[in-house]
């Protein structure tokens, strides 16, 4: 009787150990399955993301009348222009730039600007400056620079960047660096 009871207890313990082992293996398998699923999802999304961003045009975005137009860096060109820029301390310095006049860019993109228009220039880090349509239409006043003093301007995360240049301002508050978007109202 004692032997039988002992055998039963031993059998139960063995079964418990087996069940625990199976449970552990199942948990490991579940975690492995989740990791594989996530890896597959990441790979698919990664390929999709790379393809999507590869086809996206990089440049300045112009929003006018609810429509977005991207002007690529190549389309901006490299017309040389120069002038004096007054910094925050009131010191005036002469600089030479390469880029394009904003009015010309907007005309090329078939975006109408009138003297009454309000143009907001925003940077990648959401710094913004306002321009009037009259200022933009004034010849030689508002420019988009892609290089300054022979050096290419960079974006906030590297790569090509742009800067807004407004000649005649008493300080450089509207010289928006990392220029990204123009919104025309």
């Amino acid at each position: 009787m004692t032997q039988l009871l002992g055998r039963c207890i031993g059998e139960c313990r063995r079964n418990e150990k087996n069940a625990e082992g199976i449970r552990k293996i199942m948990k490991k398998k579940t975690i492995a399955a989740i990791i594989i699923l996530l890896a597959v999802a990441a790979a698919v999304l990664g390929i999709y993301n790379r393809n999507a961003s590869g086809t996206a045009k990089e440049g300045l975005t112009v929003i006018a009348g609810g429509k977005e137009t991207v002007i690529s860096w190549e389309e901006i060109g490299s017309a040389a222009f120069e002038g004096d820029i007054v910094n925050g301390k009131g010191e005036s310095k002469h600089h030479s730039f390469e880029g394009a006049e904003l009015a010309v860019l907007l005309r090329q993109a078939k975006i109408d600007v009138t003297a009454e228009s309000k143009i907001t220039a925003a940077s990648e880090d959401n710094y913004s400056a306002e321009l009037s349509g009259a200022e933009v239409l004034e010849p030689g006043k508002v420019w988009v620079a892609l290089s300054a003093d022979g050096e290419a301007l960079e974006g906030i995360e590297g790569g090509q960047g742009a800067q807004l240049i407004v000649f005649g301002d008493s300080n450089s508050k509207r010289a928006v660096r990392y220029l990204k978007t123009f919104t025309i109202e």
């Binding site: 948990k27 975690i31 996530l38 890896a39 990441a42 990664g46 993301n49 790379r50």
Partner: protein, 202 residues
């Protein structure tokens, strides 16, 4: 202060520092992958959160991960390591800590497997950190956000798996019985037994 409590606090402080600085250490390698995938991060955060998860597993007190997150945010502020979140960086440190605490709280209630809990805690805390960063700074949407969170979950799962053996090895050290005069109790006992045996033999 109880020796055990002091030991736990020292261990939590160590994990805080390891979590904060390991992020910087693996950032160059992690950036290779994230740059390739064109996402703003997620891998380094998962690795740094592994230390918080290990600490939460070994110090079974509710709130210890949140506390560590808060300490990390203070350290990050003091050392100027706030990153792109700036003044809002404490949110990015504390939110994953809260998630870890909640997962361990639920896991202890339902008596769940420790390894699985660590993996899930690491996964979900990494995803929470990613979502917090996205809400504050990145503002990603659609497939890019999905990829960002997916990479955070995946790296969180892998780091969680890495943390399981680490916790298993540290557990006997941290969960041993109270200390006596700065030494484990078992050492003098063993020494006494050996010397007794030597005397008997002589």
């Amino acid at each position: 202060m109880k020796a055990e409590r002091l030991r736990n606090l020292i261990f939590l402080a160590l994990c805080c520092d390891l979590g904060l600085f390991s992020k910087r250490l693996i950032a160059p390698a992690a950036n290779v992958i994230t740059d390739f995938l064109r996402i703003p991060g997620g891998i380094g955060t998962s690795f740094s959160l592994m230390f918080l998860v290990v600490a939460a597993e070994l110090v079974p007190k509710f709130g210890c991960a949140s506390l560590m997150g808060a300490v990390q945010s203070i350290l990050a502020f003091a050392l100027g390591m706030t990153g792109s979140m700036g003044a809002l960086s404490p949110i990015g440190y504390i939110v994953p800590g809260i998630v870890i605490d909640c997962i361990f709280f639920i896991s202890r209630r339902i008596n769940a497997n420790a390894g699985g809990t660590m993996v899930f805690a690491n996964m979900l805390s990494a995803a929470a950190a990613g979502l917090a960063a996205n809400l504050i700074v990145f503002r990603l949407r659609g497939p890019v956000l999905a990829l960002y969170i997916c990479v955070a979950l995946l790296s969180g799962a892998l780091c969680g798996c890495l943390g399981v053996p680490l916790a298993r090895r540290l557990k006997p050290v941290l969960r041993s019985e109270g200390l006596k005069a700065g030494m484990p109790q078992s050492v003098p006992e063993t020494a006494a037994t050996v010397s007794d045996m030597q005397i008997r033999k002589a």
